[in-house]
Symmetry: C2
Subunit: 437 residues, 2 copies
């Protein structure tokens, strides 16, 4: 008799699986910070020194003693003697005394004696006590015996970044478990941390099974199909920050499948068996998972579509997932169950997941208690030029119909629309959330 | 005198830049389809054969002639003689005649004579004309002289995918300019297309300038800072699908900068100069861009914050961008102007950009006409277990304050909140759109 499935809600199923993992992975590797995009920090990163290390001007202007500018206005300027120019990338040789100033560029190091910078826009230069003009920081020194009129008062600290204003020495600047993005790479470089310890990539083994399945590069006989799941899932693992290891195609035979799964389990943090969708191969996959160690099968049957026959299991703290052979089911369930496994193995602090708000074009029925994921095309409601990095805009979500196992129905989709378990459907015109593929 | 900036709206500035590019890149490269994630197809991909290539069962059950099941019901079943089992991965040796059927697994090839498959659930087996039970497709053949009771009628085509139902031979399955995701890789593999022609990665040259800037690995003298922009932008280019080439740090000298920029321009599709933020270095960058060819500087000054002093230019169809030295400005403007350049060079059909809807925690003032991008932290409003691939949920967007040039203010941010040019601010409690970093 085939097993009858007791369907678990997907959130419960996922939580059960995640609870059985030994995570995060304890191994770390040291890599070049410049190449760390997408990796996850293996421990807290502390600032070895403050940033900035010296008080820096944030504007073009004149380094001053703030007290000398108090009360300054257009009608009653403060007059300061210009004693020199601050070089870039080096400390100034000069010291600002009372009623003195020095020209300074954005990023320049504040000279001794000064405690603020007045923006160029609020100054004028007096040439031989007569001609006044606003000039650049560069050309000011061509004027003989220049005096600077200050037209606005500044407070101490104005126009500069103080030492440690970005980060202080010893501060945790990037916590353990952070997914490294452009900004983190920048922060590491700013602190001179040109290498970084990151969590080893989770290794995910991929086993395809099915007597009808052949490698994509091989000639196809009648009744045969090419292995799709090993490649879609491998790409998904890469995208999720893991490393995929392909164990090839195993025939529909318990002992062959068990041998290969056992090997993969010793080499990987998670093993995916993409089996046939028939009840018999599904049951064989469950039996193999049971045979590999405790606790074995945790979930056999999930109340989601596609993906009802998905099997979730664990052995010795490692994930074992049996995905349907149907390439759409396998990939959608990869998103739903495999990506969270990789995230947990990495110990990655979850970042908000980007979605798209869209207006559903038609009614979609669903079954109460079941979570549905529909492939949808997103069609811009307006033709506003949104530009590259500019905001999202509003879309129509148009469900793609067709039998659930057509891989090109997913290739045509921009995302997956979720119908939550407590809904019996969604109505045309409703604003829905779409997870981008 | 320093140049006074005439500020262009960011959308207009971007459109002007993009209009001057020779795009998409004409060169393509042939790569392994398994490694094509994120690459862009260089031409339309046609199906070399239909998918599926043979009629496949989508269920476990019995291959039948649909006409034999017409009118079948629980009370008046149709009786069919079971003549064998369809093997997986090979055509059946048998032919289904009138009143005959054969057991078939999901994915099996429909035998000659059959035109539909009845699901196992709607059948029963008769053992020696007496005992009835529902059994599996596997165990049915252990019964002697079995007859199958069919309890539901099927129409021709039920329970199968027909030849070409996914794609037909010669159909464009992946259009030119498609960003390859997991599903496209799956589609290529399903068709046996193990290699794919993709657009060469756009080469983006990165030049840092500034007498105060040193390589991150070098010891830091007083007044010096480490190069951050070459590394944040390099990571951004990688993420956007380009290839970054670093030309190192050039001193603040027109001819040195021009020589390096000229070299980069001959080797790259786009060149980024990250210069100092002071008016003098900014003006020098503009002069260098002007000297490299027509049309030179297109935009000097953009009505956006951060990024007002950004310079957009082009020479010989290649992009030339001068970014402020301030690492936050440089990276945010990289998102706004460099990513769209890479997208256009790739000829990539834009996919909807994922954003997060969030509720603003405080009032944010802005200047009418200016587009502001605020770093924000996203804080979940609810603690619902959203799971890995599950929908986004609702967040609070909490702006991060601090001077605009602190790289760690961006490292602390989950995304950038846009205040559109036509707004003078946003109110606490408003639902806003956040672009994830």
């Amino acid at each position: 008799m085939p097993e009858f499935l007791t369907l678990l809600p997907p959130d419960e199923a996922r939580a059960l699986l995640l609870a059985h993992l030994t995570a995060p992975i304890a191994d770390s590797v040291t890599i070049d910070s410049a190449l760390a995009l997408g990796r996850v920090t293996a421990h807290d990163i502390l600032a070895p020194h403050p940033l900035p290390e010296f008080p820096r001007s944030t504007v073009d202007g004149f380094a001053v003693r703030a007290a000398d500018t108090f009360g300054a206005s257009d009608s009653l300027p403060a007059y300061l003697t210009l004693i020199g120019e601050i070089p870039m990338g080096a400390p100034a040789a000069l010291t600002i005394g009372p009623a003195q100033c020095a020209s300074i560029h954005t990023g320049g190091m504040l000279p001794v004696g000064a405690d603020a910078v007045v923006m160029l826009e609020y100054t004028q230069i007096i040439n031989h006590g007569e001609h006044k003009e606003q000039i650049s920081v560069d050309s000011v020194h061509s004027v003989a015996n220049p005096e600077i009129e200050i037209l606005r008062p500044v407070a101490a600290g104005d126009g500069i970044i103080a030492i440690g204003e970005d980060v202080t020495a010893g501060q945790i600047v990037i916590p353990c478990g952070t997914i490294i993005r452009e900004a983190e790479i920048g922060g590491l470089m700013a602190l001179g941390l040109t290498s970084v310890d990151v969590v080893r990539k989770p290794r995910v083994g991929l086993i395809s099974s099915g007597d009808e399945v052949v490698e994509p590069g091989h000639p196809l006989g009648a009744g045969q199909v090419r292995d799709v799941n090993a490649y879609t899932l491998s790409a998904l693992i890469t995208r999720g920050g893991g490393e995929s290891i392909r164990y090839g195609i195993v025939r529909d035979d318990f002992s062959a499948l068990q041998t290969m799964a056992q090997k993969a389990l010793t080499e990987c943090d998670a093993v995916i068996i993409s089996a046939g969708s028939s009840a018999s191969t599904r049951d064989m996959t469950a039996d193999v998972i049971r045979s590999l160690g405790a606790p074995g099968v945790l979930v056999h049957g999930i109340n989601t579509r596609p993906g009802k026959p998905t099997i979730l299991g664990a052995a010795n703290g490692r994930a074992l997932i049996g995905l349907p052979g149907n390439p759409v089911s396998a990939l959608v369930n990869g998103y739903l169950f495999l990506l969270p496994v990789i995230e947990k193995l990495l110990g990655a602090s979850p970042r908000p997941r980007a979605t798209i708000q869209a207006r559903l074009t038609i009614n979609l029925a669903s079954q109460a208690g079941r979570e549905d994921w529909w492939p949808v095309k997103l069609i811009p409601q307006s033709s506003l030029p949104l530009g590259g990095g500019a905001g999202g805009g509003v879309y129509f979500a148009e469900p793609i119909f067709g039998k659930s196992n057509l891989i090109f129905s997913l290739a045509a989709a921009d995302g997956l629309l979720r119908i939550p378990p407590d809904a019996t459907g969604l109505s045309a015109g409703e604003v829905v959330e779409v997870m981008l593929l």
